[in-house]
């Protein structure tokens, strides 16, 4: 009886000891070899509209997200507009500031359209497109994949024959949404704040 018990106990203690040693090792390793990722950058990046338009002065949305995480202003993203600024302000717990006009103004959702008979097939717009939404090859007509286009304007400037138009996206049933209220003066304090602002300008 006692021999059997001692065998079982040895087995349990040995396994337990081994597991404990390994657990300690892993616990130590998870502290010692911790990878300093910056999760806030991912969160900011997921809020940004991913147009990769570069209007903020960064080469894409991810670099701007890193910039914001490092303390840059949050009001440099025209495609995202007020909604993005508000979301960023909520996330980072800072004041929501109006869009910086220096970087462009908020427009509705646009899509690039190539006037195809005029296209000479120079491929310059293809090279400019940050998300590869333009299809075509040298000396052949190009076209824009409308569902991929983010409306970033970057292809308009390089076109030598100016055959790219930015047109507002047609609001079909699937893309229709309520317009946000034009005037945010809903309660009395909003009005008071706007008066204060105007007073400060004068």
């Amino acid at each position: 009886m006692s021999i059997a018990l001692s065998v079982i106990l040895t087995a349990i203690v040995a396994l337990l000891g081994l597991a404990l040693a390994f657990g300690t090792l892993l616990g130590f390793a998870s502290v010692r070899f911790k990878v300093e990722g910056n999760p806030i950058v991912d969160e900011i990046d997921s809020i940004l509209p991913q147009t990769q338009c570069g209007q903020c002065g960064h080469p894409g949305c991810r670099p701007y997200a890193e910039g914001i995480a490092a303390g840059e202003d949050i009001n440099k993203c025209p495609p995202g507009g007020e909604a993005t600024i508000q979301a960023l302000a909520d996330l980072l717990d800072v004041e929501a500031t109006p869009l910086d006009a220096e970087h462009g103004e908020e427009k509705g959702k646009m899509v690039a359209v190539i006037r195809e008979p005029e296209c000479i097939g120079c491929t310059k717009c293809i090279q400019a497109c940050p998300i590869d939404a333009i299809l075509g090859s040298a000396k052949h007509m190009h076209t824009v994949i409308a569902s991929e286009c983010t409306g970033c304007d970057l292809c308009v400037e390089p076109c030598p024959v100016d055959c790219i138009d930015m047109v507002p996206v047609d609001q079909g049933i699937s893309s229709w949404h309520w317009n946000s209220p034009k005037d945010m003066k809903i309660i009395a304090t909003d009005k008071a704040a706007s008066i204060d602002n105007e007073g400060a300008i004068h």
Binding site: A14, L15, L18, L25, F33, K34
Partner: protein, 193 residues
């Protein structure tokens, strides 16, 4: 020295883990669609197999054997392998982001690779010594890598070949694996361990 060479040849060609002993078939079929991923998997497996055969040998000789707990070898080896893989992943992630990008997603997969446990158990069964265990693990891993890379290269060709529709996809993969296994049977008798 020639003994170690014999172990290597034996595990790589004659007693190939995948095609002759039929261990580690899941990654063999699962990760062989692309040559690039197959190479990543092979590298990671080589690393883990060699390391885990060393660790399991140490755990067996210095913990289980003195206490007379040989019957606990399976659960102990599973524990050892899981910890080795996890620890390796952490260290690689910290020290070399580049290597982590190559090996990273494959490392957790290897934990459940039966070839890893198979090597540990066979080492004990064959009563291999310390260096022999390392050689055995390394040879098994090289054999696995060789077969996996060959097979994935073949599958890349097969993917664009005109295969009759009943054999498309995994079916032709299985047949190819069978033919490879037949081919490796040809090595039987080359070395005898």
């Amino acid at each position: 020295m020639s003994e170690y060479l014999l172990i290597l040849v034996s595990t790589i060609l004659v007693n190939n883990f995948v095609l002759v002993q039929f261990l580690g078939l899941c990654p063999f079929m699962g990760v062989s669609n692309k040559l690039e991923t197959a190479m990543g998997m092979s590298l990671a497996t080589t690393f883990v197999l060699t390391l885990s055969s060393v660790c399991s040998y140490l755990a067996f000789t210095f913990l289980l054997q003195p206490l007379g707990l040989e019957y606990l070898q399976t659960i102990t080896f599973i524990l050892v392998i899981a910890v080795v893989v996890q620890f390796t992943e952490m260290v690689v992630r910290k020290t070399s982001p580049l290597l982590y990008r190559v090996l990273g997603i494959f490392l957790p997969l290897i934990t459940t690779n039966c070839a890893v446990l198979g090597v540990a158990l066979l080492n004990i069964k064959k009563q291999n010594g310390f260096v022999e265990s390392i050689m055995y693990g390394f040879g098994a891993a090289v054999g696995f890598s060789l077969v996996l890379i060959l097979f994935s290269a073949m599958r890349e060709r097969i993917a664009v070949a005109d295969v009759p529709s009943p054999f498309k996809g995994s079916a032709i993969g299985m047949i190819t694996a069978g033919l490879m296994s037949l081919a490796f049977m040809g090595f039987t008798g080359l070395v005898n361990i």
